[in-house]
């Protein structure tokens, strides 16, 4: 499956990816509306921290409305019309890569569109092809016959 992969050692913290993402998906230059976030190094000598969804799919099984689903290309997509904005996915993401903003009732995440890859001056971001994630518990339920 396709994911947005990172080389944090190359990141200079310029934030161009954050601005490009917010501009692409929310039409505004506001890094608080970006689906990729750059944080300063935790300690001196360590690289910048790039926080972005790697499509692991842990969120799929905590969503009360089954609004999170894995598309054919492996990307976990949020169906906004089903989402009730509970942010359970935000709390349960192992990478803390589901984001939210008070201007929107639904949270948002990286869908591996690649726009940030194009603007990163250091090549710290790239689209990678990785092994498919295992089926979620939700998938197992939905494949069964309804009770």
């Amino acid at each position: 499956m396709k994911i947005l992969a990172t080389r944090p050692e190359r990141c200079t913290g310029c934030g161009a990816c954050e601005i490009e993402c917010a501009r692409t998906w929310f039409k505004v230059d506001d890094k608080e509306k970006s689906r990729i976030r750059i944080f300063p190094p935790a300690k001196e000598g360590q690289p910048f921290r790039i926080v972005v969804c790697n499509q692991n799919g842990a969120c799929i099984d905590v969503c009360p409305t089954v609004a999170l689903k894995r598309a054919k290309n492996g990307v976990v997509q949020l169906n906004k019309s089903l989402c009730v904005g509970c942010l359970s996915c935000v709390g349960f993401c192992p990478n803390q890569a589901m984001f939210y903003h008070p201007d929107y009732t639904e949270p948002f995440k990286c869908v591996a569109c690649g726009k940030c890859v194009d603007v990163c001056p250091e090549g710290a971001l790239y689209i990678a092809e990785v092994a498919d994630a295992p089926a979620s518990v939700t998938d197992t339920w939905l494949q069964k016959e309804a009770v």
Partner: protein
């Protein structure tokens, strides 16, 4: 829709219809309540005043206020004048924080003959609010079974005669989500139902089942408004079901003043649960069922009608069993966004007895109370029995706590020879006899046999056993675990004076929603003096009542704690979570409040409920008495099961225990404990601003701003 369901729908006869304009919810309120009278098919809206919101907040507060005005002093539970009121509260319906979808149900109880309140999860209350109504108030009685349908999508309410649908919840809920929702599962989750069952028709402790929808199981599931018999009132009014529809739920449907603040506190709390639930209580794995083993270890599990606190077979119904029986990995939250997710289910359970024998069903539970009450208290340590009994109590709509405690009482009476097979109709009603117990539950469903007698509740059973079978009323009084007419819930208060007060002084009867102090008192020894206990019995009931004003579940407050909680000044209060609730209330309503403000909201409603009890002819000190089984060893066997501990206590009081017989020691300990309880009651009344007879003083009402003329009149008459 299947042919079978279409037929049932076609048989509906429209009795009344009401259309209304929908308005968005503003800061947690719609500012109107819905009134329905089933005797004359009135449907009307009533405004919610600023005063009502300020003084009564919502939820239980609204329920009490509306009931106060709807009935007379002499109204009985089965008069048409009695009402059932359901309301969520201003916070109910937000989605970002766990445990924010509770409904509060208020009515007059067939068990206590006084005002009762009961809380419940599921979607109904919040959906009702988003449909346009802060509360629904149902008065009168229908001639034939009706369904009330509130279509919050179109703004239309109907009362429909519904002759064909079965009344038992597991069948009815499934039919209704299809009938009113359709075939698509997301359309079905837009429906929530309130139903009862055949057991509610034939006992005094019928409950109400409130539905939510499980999209993975693709089935409706239910939570219970358990205590007090409001399901019995529901069926007495010939209500078959309430149905609400609301399709477009969003994080801001509740109209909050500041969504961002709700998002931040919610995301933080979800992460706390993600990070710590596993190593703390494991609610996401097994809900409250883990408490069975803990209570057994600490000698606090009710066994054999609260005689003993543990049993060697306790491990057979312990958490390891439930971890294996509950299906794991599904979000079992009964309102959207509850990541504490405590409502687990046993899937694919094949029923072995009763009218639904052979059916494969989903069983909602068991929670701690069911395992302790239906199981340990009755001496039955068989998980399959507990699961089956849980299922039938749910579908028949029987309060599992009352069933457990009432059956345990009946079993002890049988074992002591106070009643025999004449009374039980041939059932060998010993502790541990699961076959007899499940048959009694089916009899409650059918309204016949010994089950129907147990279904009258402990208070009335005492009278029946004394009058019809010559049983000794003094012993019955000592071992019958009821107070105010309501059965005790499944915790052992015997060794905790504070918990005795927590149960005895609770407004509705001995339900632990007001105070749960056993560990603080007995194990932690954090409230050693009478003043400490009185302070705890002032603070905790007031704080815990607040949840019922707002539509909140208490479990996310205290069944998960932040990692640094131990280092705070008052860890028992879980200060960070209290701050979360202050934040949430402020963010929803736009009113910046403090934790003291929350306590004041609650203290008002708390005192109002006490006066309401007075109004109905109760509410004074004599009604706060508890049976001696709740306070100490009634029998020689009970004394000897803890002889070391009791001897030590008597020695400390100056008794020469070596020279005393066990009956003498039982009597001496009893005299001491009964007098301790009276001293505790004195201390608590003083702390609460009540007279020595338990009546709120006028100056207390004035301080709280609830000194309405009719309220003051009642307390003055009672010497307040």
């Amino acid at each position: 829709m299947s042919h079978h369901i279409a037929e049932m729908k076609a048989a509906h006869r429209l009795l009344a219809e009401f259309t209304y304009e929908k308005h968005p919810v503003q800061r947690g309120y719609t500012n109107r309540t819905l009134y329905i009278n089933l005797s004359d098919n009135t449907i009307a809206g009533k405004p919610v005043s600023e005063e009502m919101k300020e003084k009564f907040t919502g939820g239980k507060g609204f329920g009490l206020w509306l009931l106060w005005h709807g009935i007379r002093d002499t109204t009985k539970w089965n008069d048409p004048e009695n009402e059932i009121i359901i309301s969520t509260g201003p916070i109910g319906g937000i989605t970002t924080y766990p445990g924010t979808g509770k409904s509060l149900v208020v009515s007059l109880s067939p068990l206590t003959d006084s005002v009762m309140d009961s809380n419940v999860g599921g979607y109904f209350g919040p959906y009702l609010k988003f449909a346009g109504w802060d509360a629904i108030e149902i008065q009168g009685k229908a001639e034939k079974d009706v369904i009330i349908f509130i279509d919050g999508d179109t703004g239309r309410i109907t009362i429909e005669e519904a002759p064909l649908e079965p009344v038992d919840t597991h069948l009815l809920t499934d039919i209704l989500v299809q009938m009113y929702g359709g075939d698509d599962h997301h359309a079905r989750r837009a429906i929530s139902t309130v139903t009862a069952g055949s057991g509610a028709q034939h006992t005094r402790f019928g409950c109400l089942n409130f539905s939510w929808y499980d999209l993975r199981r693709r089935a409706a599931r239910v939570k219970q408004a358990g205590r007090g018999g409001i399901g019995t009132v529901f069926r007495d009014k010939r209500i078959k079901a309430l149905v609400v529809k609301f399709s477009d739920l969003k994080a801001d449907s509740n109209g909050p003043a500041d969504l961002g603040r709700l998002q931040r506190v919610g995301a933080k709390m979800h992460k706390e649960i993600h990070d710590y639930d596993d190593q703390q209580c494991g609610m996401r794995r097994h809900g409250t069922s883990y408490l069975v083993g803990i209570m057994n270890d600490y000698d606090l599990l009710p066994v054999h009608n609260f005689r003993y606190g543990s049993h060697p077979d306790g491990h057979k119904i312990d958490v390891k069993v439930w971890d294996a029986r509950f299906t794991q990995g599904v979000p079992d939250g009964c309102w959207y966004g509850c990541t504490l997710s405590c409502s687990h289910a046993v899937d694919g359970f094949v029923l072995r007895t009763g009218p639904y024998k052979g059916q494969r069903v989903i069983v909602d539970g068991p929670e701690y109370e069911n395992a302790a009450g239906l199981g340990a208290n009755c001496g039955i340590f068989d998980p399959d029995y507990i699961i089956e009994a849980n299922f039938y109590c749910d579908t028949y709509a029987l309060d599992t706590i009352s069933v457990g405690t009432a059956m345990a009482f009946a079993m002890e009476c049988y074992e002591m020879g106070l009643i025999d097979k004449r009374a039980t109709g041939g059932l060998d009603f010993r502790f541990g006899n699961a076959e007899a117990a499940i048959e009694a539950i089916h009899q409650m469903g059918r309204g016949e046999g010994f089950g129907a007698i147990i279904g009258q509740g402990v208070r009335r059973m005492k009278k029946i056993f004394a009058e019809q079978y010559g049983a000794d009323p003094k012993i019955l009084q000592d071992i019958g675990m009821e107070a105010k007419g309501l059965e005790f819930s499944e915790y052992m208060p015997k060794e905790s004076l504070a918990q005795q007060g927590g149960y005895g002084l609770a407004s509705k009867g001995p339900q632990h929603d007001e105070a749960w102090l056993i560990f603080m008192d007995m194990v932690n020894n954090q409230i050693p003096t009478m003043e400490d206990k009185a302070e705890a019995l002032h603070y905790f009931p007031i704080w815990r009542t607040w949840f019922g004003l707002c539509g909140l579940c208490k479990l996310p407050w205290n069944d998960i704690v932040p990692p640094d909680n131990a280092l705070t000044d008052e860890p028992a209060k879980i200060p960070e979570h209290v701050r979360n609730y202050v934040e949430i209330f402020s963010a929803v309503t736009g009113r910046q409040v403090t934790s003291e403000d929350l306590l004041l909201m609650s203290e008002r409603v708390y005192n109002f409920q006490r006066v309401f009890n007075l109004r109905m002819g109760f509410g004074t000190r004599e009604h706060d008495k508890i049976p001696y089984r709740a306070q100490g060893p009634v029998t020689v066997e009970e004394y000897e099961s803890r002889a070391e501990r009791y001897d030590k206590q008597l020695k400390a009081l100056g008794y020469d225990v070596e020279k005393m017989s066990t009956p003498e020691k039982v009597a001496a300990l009893r005299a001491h404990r009964e007098s301790q309880y009276e001293k505790l009651v004195d201390a608590v009344y003083a702390r609460r601003g009540w007279t020595k007879n338990g009546v709120p003083k006028v100056e207390t009402l004035q301080r709280l701003g609830i000194d309405y003329p009719d309220v003051v009149e009642i307390v003055r008459r009672a010497g307040g």
